[in-house]
């Protein structure tokens, strides 16, 4: 087990901070040094503000000194995906169009991290506007997988996943529209939670597809992400789609959901196209739950093959509408080649957006255009209803679903970059949760013969995060994956 400080779990670091064994400044310096040492190879950070981070750490130390920490994460470094606003810091979204943008305000999750005493550490790389599954769509630089530098870390929260896996931060926030937290978590061997739609405020999250986006926690253990989720969850009057529900104590609930539950295994997720090593790892995990006393039942999600096409219609439609705000008038890039007002729109968007973002805006525009609206957009929304009914029918029968996260382990950089449709299919097992608003977690459940992490997905009913966290914790406690770190 690697005993270096930047690989320690948050709860242990908090105990050390409380006991004055280390200071928050020392901890911040450890992740800063680590980042300087390895990030040239990994590329997880788009920017960081060392002085600001150290100042926040000093403030945390003062609180620990007076015995009044703000939360169990006071003094713990948390990195932010570069589409979550932090006042005074860049917010590039991985795009040239926001290259010089500075956030004038905090996202609600950022405010909550501050209120919990977290030390905000760095702006994390991502696919441009969260559109991608390999982080190769970042306009600035690709990210390498810490387990194998020639492989992708997944996307779109690739910087978040890689930085956590490599010990460049303790915790991170990502965002998930179709798998963007869970898929990179699986590729990098860490844990990531996509909360139920409405559980976490989206205020200050740059929108991709508003009916699907959620911010969620990423960390090296289930305990760590439960603690981070506790900080960010909850209704917010600044986001009218945030949903009021009574919040459990997620950390306290972790040991409580043991055994004797009914877990569904969807047949459609275990068909051809699933890497045999992932299948075997999942089968072992399912066997673990069975022998721990859970009832395992085979279930069928009959709409599975329509989830992906419906998702791409809805997500791109919403994206084309959301990204209309980048017009070169009020903020961000303005093309110098533009000769008149209308030209500003066309030229700025040509220069500022990368190819994948343009592709999705064009696709979204197509499905929303008057001649195609009924046959694509309206139809996809109806299919979405059927997908939700299908999912809820299965959840009448089971407490949770066990599934793979990805069809393959991390692939080589460049391998799928030029084939958009193949790239989209990376998310085939993850989009379901977004389409129905369910919560879903990805945790490590094995290593491939090529020494790349394998992830397991546990899906739960909306607002039952405590149940899937608990199931994940049960597995994690009996296995050693959280203590495995890449050799970098």
């Amino acid at each position: 087990m690697d005993d270096r400080i930047f690989f320690k779990p948050a709860h242990q670091l908090f105990a050390m901070l409380s006991g004055r064994e280390i200071s928050s400044v020392e901890l911040a310096k450890a992740v800063i040094e680590r980042t300087k040492q390895v990030d040239r190879e990994i590329g997880a950070f788009l920017s960081f503000d060392e002085a600001k981070t150290l100042k926040e750490a000093e403030e945390s130390d003062a609180r620990h000194k007076s015995g009044r920490p703000l939360s169990p994460l006071d003094g713990i470094p948390v990195g932010l995906k570069d589409l979550i606003a932090e006042k005074g810091q860049p917010l590039t979204c991985g795009s040239r169009i926001l290259e010089n943008f500075i956030s004038p305000y905090d996202a609600t999750v950022t405010e909550r991290l501050r209120a919990a005493g977290c030390v905000l550490w760095g702006r994390l790389n991502m696919d441009e506007f969260a559109m991608g599954s390999s982080n190769e769509n970042s306009a600035y630089k690709p990210v390498s997988n810490p387990w194998n530098l020639s492989c992708v870390p997944g996307g779109s929260s690739g910087g978040s996943a890689a930085s956590v896996a490599a010990g460049e931060t303790i915790l991170a926030l990502g965002s998930d529209t179709g798998g963007s937290i869970r898929q990179p978590a699986a590729f990098c061997g860490i844990c990531g939670l996509k909360p139920s739609y409405g559980a976490v405020s989206r205020y200050g999250l740059v929108a991709f597809a508003s009916s699907l986006d959620q911010i969620g926690p990423m960390g090296r253990s289930v305990e760590d992400i439960a603690a981070l989720f506790q900080v960010i969850v909850g209704v917010d009057r600044k986001d009218s789609s945030s949903f009021p529900f009574s919040l459990p104590d997620y950390s306290a609930e972790l040991p409580k959901f043991k055994s004797l539950k009914k877990l569904g295994v969807p047949v459609e997720y275990f068909q051809d196209g699933l890497d045999p090593e992932i299948r075997e790892a999942l089968e072992r995990a399912i066997e673990f739950y069975r022998s721990a006393g859970h009832e395992i039942v085979e279930v069928s999600l009959e709409m599975t093959k329509y989830v992906m096409p419906a998702y791409y219609v809805i997500a791109t439609a919403e994206a084309s509408s959301n990204l209309a705000r980048f017009d070169g008038v009020r903020y961000g890039l303005r093309s110098k080649a533009a000769k008149n007002a209308i030209d500003i729109f066309f030229k700025t968007r040509e220069e500022g957006f990368g190819e994948e973002v343009k592709r999705r805006i064009m696709l979204g525009t197509y499905v929303l255009s008057s001649e195609n609206f009924d046959s694509y957009y309206r139809r996809a929304q109806k299919v979405r209803t059927l997908i939700r009914n299908d999912f809820m029918r299965v959840f009448d029968e089971v407490n949770a679903i066990i599934a793979p996260v990805t069809p393959t382990v991390a692939f080589e950089l460049g391998k799928k970059k030029f084939d958009p449709l193949q790239m989209y299919l990376c998310d085939i097992f993850t989009v379901q949760a977004n389409m129905v608003g369910a919560c879903a977690i990805s945790i490590p459940c094995g290593m491939s013969s090529g020494n790349l992490p394998i992830g397991m997905q546990i899906l739960g009913k909306p607002f039952k995060e405590h149940e899937i966290l608990s199931l994940a914790y049960e597995f994690e406690s009996a296995h050693g994956y959280k203590d495995l770190h890449p050799n970098i």
Partner: protein, 96 residues
């Protein structure tokens, strides 16, 4: 239902307010055709009498009192403007 395969990329560029240079235009148009083919799968689904889902929860018309809260100062609102002067955004002349 979706027999419409004709993709007028120039028309889409106008709708989307994006200029695409020659090679990028061809590349994106080709990939869109492939993706639209894939989306054809949706036409297999029987959607007679199915309601649309715009979002996933029964939240409707979330209202709040119209109270003045903290807001950005003019300087903050303009700090990312590409061009600004006298508390205003500068844009090219739009009316002749």
């Amino acid at each position: 239902m979706m027999e419409e395969k004709h993709l007028n990329i120039e028309h889409l560029m106008t709708l989307a307010r994006i200029e695409l240079g020659g090679s990028e235009r061809i590349k994106i148009a080709d990939s869109l055709r492939e993706i639209l083919d894939y989306l054809e799968k949706l036409s297999e689904v029987d959607i007679e009498e199915v309601e649309e889902s715009a979002h996933v929860f029964p939240l409707y018309n979330v209202l709040r009192d119209d109270l003045v809260g903290p807001m950005l100062s003019v300087e903050e609102a303009l700090m990312n403007a590409p061009e600004q002067r006298d508390n205003q955004f500068i844009v090219p002349k739009v009316v002749e």
